[in-house]
Point group: C2
Chain length 334, copies 2
Amino acid sequence: MSCTDFNDERALEGMKLKPERYLALCGGVGGAKLALGLSHVLDPSQLTVVVNTGDDFEHLGLLICPDIDTVCYTLAGLVDPQQGWGRADESWNALTEVKRLDGETWFRLGDKDLGLHLLRRALLDQGMSLSAVTAHISRQLGIAPEILPMSDQAVRTEVETDQGKLAFQHYFVRERCEPRVRSICFAGSQAAEPAEGFVRILQDPALKAVIICPSNPFLSVDPILSLPGIREALSDTDVPVIAVSPVVGGQAVKGPTAKIMQELGLPVTVEAVADHYAGMLTGLVVDRCDSDSVQVLEGRLAVHCCDTIMKNTPDKVALARQLLEFISSLEDTP
Amino acid sequence: MSCTDFNDERALEGMKLKPERYLALCGGVGGAKLALGLSHVLDPSQLTVVVNTGDDFEHLGLLICPDIDTVCYTLAGLVDPQQGWGRADESWNALTEVKRLDGETWFRLGDKDLGLHLLRRALLDQGMSLSAVTAHISRQLGIAPEILPMSDQAVRTEVETDQGKLAFQHYFVRERCEPRVRSICFAGSQAAEPAEGFVRILQDPALKAVIICPSNPFLSVDPILSLPGIREALSDTDVPVIAVSPVVGGQAVKGPTAKIMQELGLPVTVEAVADHYAGMLTGLVVDRCDSDSVQVLEGRLAVHCCDTIMKNTPDKVALARQLLEFISSLEDTP
């Protein structure tokens, strides 16, 4: 596979008409950007986004779901465009009071964001599942694609570091990813079940492909893969499983992916990303600057290279388009 | 007792020097105003305010304590001066989002106010008692007098109305006190215990007087009196128990007191207030416009009349001063 652009508008229009569904697995900021691109290119009913909940935690009595909220705010057009998470035009009056009262303020919760968290708390307290709550929030925010938590049960990512075991947000936000990672585990994962909707789409005959978004493979995608039956389902599925590499030119686009890979003794390369998903992956989308890797990987899996850095909406749409056309091209390959 | 003003500055200074303690029982806005007045006249260490928690309820996952918060915000100088509750210079961004997400917004929670509620939730979840949480909040807000919830256990005021039984805030806020009241009960009251600090001050030899603030007798004071042993303790105590009438000139200064008295078949008079507290009350402070009642009540209990409407801080301080001098005068009476 060479670095040529796809440019077949008719093929894309054709995809919209078919009752084909696409499943995207994602974490927060990077994944949400691609999900937004996909939501522009696909008909909304074609797209299901299954989101990591390993980052979730209870804080100030609220259930914080950073990745679900980032995906929802992004798809609703409400996200803070600078940081890629949280709400645009946010205010911080509640947190200022928490600080005045000597409470914990290391996790930044703006006033608008708090409104969503209060609503989620209220609905969960009424006995609704996280899937149902997320569906309600999506609907109210006018989001058309289906957004699903990976599970309705609690799975909590824990990071074993040189400073001991840390709950994910303590590692990620409070300690700013500074401790050296030794290993990562997903507490509760084996006892949890994939969300009903997640199982349903994996078994849906209309499923056309599974897309692993350019999220952190260790912190954002692995929790999803750790759920009972998911890794097997993705290994056994007949549809293409395509990842977009979060590693570009030997660096992570955002977040601690590269640092963690180094700490785990892995090279920071697209090949290492491919290795990480070995056994599941049909194809990998890499950035143009990693075109050298195409040759290395060829034979093992299909590779497509194109621009993968998503700075604005046209970038996101363009990457989604490249990705979908890559998937479409795989069908044609004997 | 006639309608003469007390004006003995030396006597007041003397009270400050003695290790005398005063216990004020109160509800929300009206009671908080007098508590503020008392906090100006007394040394802070002399004043304990025990606050009604019958109005408390769980909402959006938070424990809402309207009366405690009104007292704290008032004593901290943070209260909204127009409405007498909630925070001054408040913003409503969180609640706007709750509304966007189709959540319940009939109970007004501003962003700053939410900060306090989140902190309270977090501390309660850590296992702290409501007394300890209230002490922490008071300390952080720089409030010197002791503020105590009447109980650390849940007591929930329920209003039996012509539209069925309503939880207090549903009656008070959501239905704007419109249903006709048939009776009022305090669920959980008999199983609850008065807060430890409440019992302690009632038994303190330094206790000089118990002040029943001009709060709603039925909705704000009765929940406190309904706790096991409290009515008996106030009947049996050797120190004066003095109420300030919330009824002035046949009307309630604020809130549904008059409406409820009518619905319960009671005349809206200071005599009816005295009757309500019969067996406990040593003295009653009534407004000048109710001076006619002095003669009617004399013989039954001591009565002092003065200006009782508290529109500003000097009014609050003046009423507190009148009240304390009235208490002091009762000592001199054989």
